[in-house]
C-alpha cells in the first residue's frame, strides 16, 4: 500500500477491496450446498461454543447494572420497580447485543483472522485455488453466514441470562423482590425492543465475521503479518460495531 500523501486514500481502498471481496463471496452463494458441512462446523464453533462465555458476561453485566442502578436510585419518590424498568431495557437494547459483540470480536473475530491469515501465509489458500476450489466462497461464506445466523441466538441467550442475573442479584442482595423487578420491566416493555436487539446482533455478526475474514484473507508477511491482521481485525470490528450501533439507533428507533 502506498505511504505518504497517497496513503490518505488507503481507508477508501480498503473499503473498496472489502466490498469487492464481499460481492465475490456472496456471488458464490449458489454453491452453498458444497459449503454445507463447513457452514454447520462454523455455526458450532462461532455460535454454540461461544454460549458459555456470552452467558457469563451477560450475567455479570446484568447483575452489575442492577446493583449500580439500585445504588443510584436513592430517592424515595421513585418506586423500587424502576430498577427493573431500567435494567431490562438496557439489556435488551444495548448490553445484550453490544457486550456480546465485543466478547465475540475477541473470541470469534480474532480466531477467524488468525485462521485465514495463517492459511494465506502458509499458501493453503493458493493450494485451494490450485485445486480449482473457489477459496473466497469456501472460506468466507460459511463464516459470515454462521455469524449472521448465530449472533441473534447468542443475543437472545445473553438477554435472558443478563436479566436473570439482574433479578437474582436484586433479590439475593436485598435491593428489590424478583416480582417487583419483573413488574418494573413489564411497565415500560416495548415489543419492538427485542426485535431491534436481534437486528443489531445480526448486523454485528456480519460486521465481525466479514471484517475478520477480510483482514485474514489479505494477510501478508509471515507470522508477524498474522499477528497484525488479528489485531487489526479486532480493532476495526470494535470501531465498526460502535458505528453500526449508532447508525441503527438513529435510523430504527
Amino acid at each position: 500500500m502506498p505511504v505518504g500523501p497517497a496513503g490518505m486514500l488507503n481507508p477508501v481502498r480498503a473499503l473498496g477491496r472489502y466490498s469487492l471481496l464481499m460481492f465475490q463471496a456472496f456471488g458464490s452463494l449458489h454453491e452453498l450446498s458444497i459449503y454445507r458441512k463447513n457452514l454447520f462446523d462454523q455455526m458450532v464453533k462461532i455460535g454454540i461454543e461461544s454460549i458459555p462465555i456470552v452467558a457469563l458476561t451477560a450475567a455479570f453485566s446484568g447483575a452489575v447494572t442492577t446493583v449500580q442502578t439500585a445504588y443510584q436510585l436513592t430517592s424515595p419518590l421513585y418506586p423500587k420497580s424502576l430498577i427493573g424498568s431500567i435494567v431490562a431495557p438496557s439489556m435488551i437494547l444495548e448490553l445484550g447485543a453490544v457486550v456480546t459483540a465485543f466478547i465475540l470480536t475477541g473470541r470469534v473475530g480474532a480466531r477467524i483472522a488468525a485462521e485465514l491469515g495463517t492459511m494465506r501465509v502458509t499458501e493453503q489458500i493458493d493450494a485451494l485455488e490450485a485445486m480449482g476450489l473457489n477459496s473466497v466462497g469456501y472460506l468466507i461464506i460459511p463464516r459470515v453466514l454462521a455469524g449472521v445466523i448465530m449472533f441473534p441466538v447468542l443475543y437472545i441467550s445473553a438477554v435472558l441470562v443478563g436479566i436473570g442475573g439482574g433479578i437474582i442479584v436484586a433479590d439475593l442482595g436485598g435491593w428489590l423482590e424478583a416480582a417487583e423487578f419483573i413488574d418494573g420491566a413489564r411497565e415500560f416493555f416495548n415489543p419492538f425492543d427485542p426485535v431491534f436487539g436481534c437486528i443489531k446482533s445480526l448486523v454485528f455478526g456480519f460486521v465481525i465475521t466479514s471484517i475478520s475474514c477480510f483482514k485474514g484473507y489479505y494477510t501478508r508477511g509471515g507470522a508477524e503479518g498474522v499477528g497484525r491482521s488479528t489485531t487489526e481485525s479486532a480493532v476495526t470490528s470494535c470501531v465498526f460495531i460502535l458505528l453500526a450501533d449508532l447508525l441503527l439507533a438513529v435510523t430504527l428507533l
Binding site: M43, F188, N190, P191
Partner: protein, 309 residues
C-alpha cells in the same frame, strides 16, 4: 459429526426462537400460552401513554398497551390495547387514563359495562373518558378551595380574638392555670417527699401482682370449679326468672280478667251497686257505733242478758 453439528445448531436456533417469543409475551404481560384479543380507543390527549403501559380493570393488570399512534389529520391519538382472553370486557365499558404523567407513570383503566351486557369482540372500539390527574384536579378545584379557606380564616380570626380575651390577665383561664400550677407544685413536692414510700408501695404492688399471678396459676383448678358453680347458679337463676316470668304472666291475665269483670273479684270490683251497698252498710255501722258510744247502757243491757244466757 455432520449430523451432530446440524442437530446442535438446530436445537440452539429453535430454543432461542421459543425463548424470544415467550420472553416477549412474558414482558408484555400477556399469558404465555393463553389467547389474547385487541381493543382500541381514541383520546384527545394520551398524557404520555407509551407502548407497554399496563391496562387494568378494578386495579388488576389485564393486558398492556400495544400501539399509540397520532392521527395527523384529526390530531387524535389511537391506542390499541391487548387483553388477556380470560378477562372479558362487557359492552358499555369505557376507558380512562390515570396516573401521574409528571412521573411518566400512567396506565389505562377499563371501567366495566353493566354485567348483563354481551362481551365486546376482538378489534372493537371502547369509548373513553379522560380522568384528571392530580395536578389538573388540584388546579380545577383551586377557586373553591380558596373561598373555603377564606371563610375558614375569618372563623379562625374570631377564634383567635376570643382566645385573646380568654388569656387576658385576671381571666378565668389564667386563674385556672395558676391554681393548676400550684396544685402541680404541691404534687411534685409530695412526690419528692414521699419518694421512698411510693417506691415501697410500688414494690409491694409488684410483689402482690407476682403473688397473684402465681396464685392464679396454682389455683387454676379451683377457679375452674368456682366458675362452673357460678355457671350452675346462673342457670338456676335463669330458671327462677323464667318461673317468675310465668307467674307474672298468669297474674297479668288474672288482672286482665278482673278488669273485664270476669269472676267474683271482677264482679266485686266492677259492680258499683255492691260498693254503694257496702258504703251505706258502713255508714249504718258507723251510726251504730256512735250510738253504742253514746248510750252504752242500752246495749250493755242486752249484753248482760246475753251473758246470763
Amino acid at each position: 459429526m455432520k449430523a451432530s453439528n446440524e442437530l446442535k445448531v438446530g436445537i440452539a436456533i429453535i430454543l432461542s426462537a421459543v425463548a424470544f417469543i415467550l420472553g416477549v409475551r412474558f414482558f408484555e404481560d400477556i399469558p404465555l400460552f393463553k389467547g389474547t384479543y385487541d381493543l382500541y380507543t381514541v383520546y384527545d390527549d394520551a398524557r404520555g401513554m407509551i407502548v407497554g403501559n399496563a391496562v387494568r380493570i378494578s386495579g388488576v393488570d389485564v393486558g398492556s398497551v400495544q400501539e399509540v399512534s397520532l392521527d395527523p389529520e384529526t390530531n387524535k391519538v389511537k391506542v390499541r390495547i391487548r387483553l388477556d382472553k380470560q378477562y372479558i370486557v362487557k359492552e358499555g365499558a369505557y376507558t380512562e387514563i390515570t396516573g401521574i404523567d409528571a412521573l411518566n407513570a400512567v396506565q389505562m383503566v377499563i371501567h366495566q359495562g353493566p354485567p348483563d351486557n354481551p362481551p365486546v369482540n376482538d378489534g372493537d372500539f371502547l369509548p373513553n373518558r379522560i380522568a384528571n390527574d392530580l395536578f389538573t384536579s388540584l388546579t380545577e378545584s383551586a377557586p373553591g378551595l380558596i373561598s373555603r379557606s377564606d371563610s375558614v380564616l375569618v372563623g379562625l380570626d374570631g377564634t383567635i380574638t376570643d382566645i385573646g380575651e380568654l388569656v387576658q390577665p385576671g381571666s378565668d383561664l389564667r386563674r385556672m392555670f395558676s391554681s393548676f400550677r400550684s396544685s402541680a407544685d404541691a404534687i411534685e413536692q409530695l412526690l419528692s417527699e414521699e419518694r421512698v414510700r411510693i417506691g415501697r408501695v410500688l414494690a409491694n404492688v409488684d410483689t402482690l401482682t407476682t403473688a397473684l399471678g402465681e396464685t392464679t396459676q396454682g389455683a387454676g383448678d379451683s377457679l375452674a370449679i368456682a366458675t362452673q358453680q357460678l355457671n350452675e347458679l346462673l342457670r338456676r337463676v335463669d330458671e327462677n326468672l323464667a318461673a317468675l316470668e310465668n307467674t307474672t304472666n298468669t297474674l297479668d291475665s288474672i288482672l286482665g280478667k278482673i278488669d273485664q269483670g270476669e269472676g267474683t273479684v271482677g264482679l266485686l270490683i266492677n259492680d258499683p251497686a255492691l260498693y254503694h251497698q257496702m258504703d251505706s252498710t258502713l255508714e249504718n255501722m258507723n251510726a251504730l257505733f256512735l250510738d253504742i258510744k253514746e248510750n252504752p247502757v242500752r246495749y250493755m243491757r242486752a249484753l248482760r242478758l246475753f251473758d246470763i244466757l
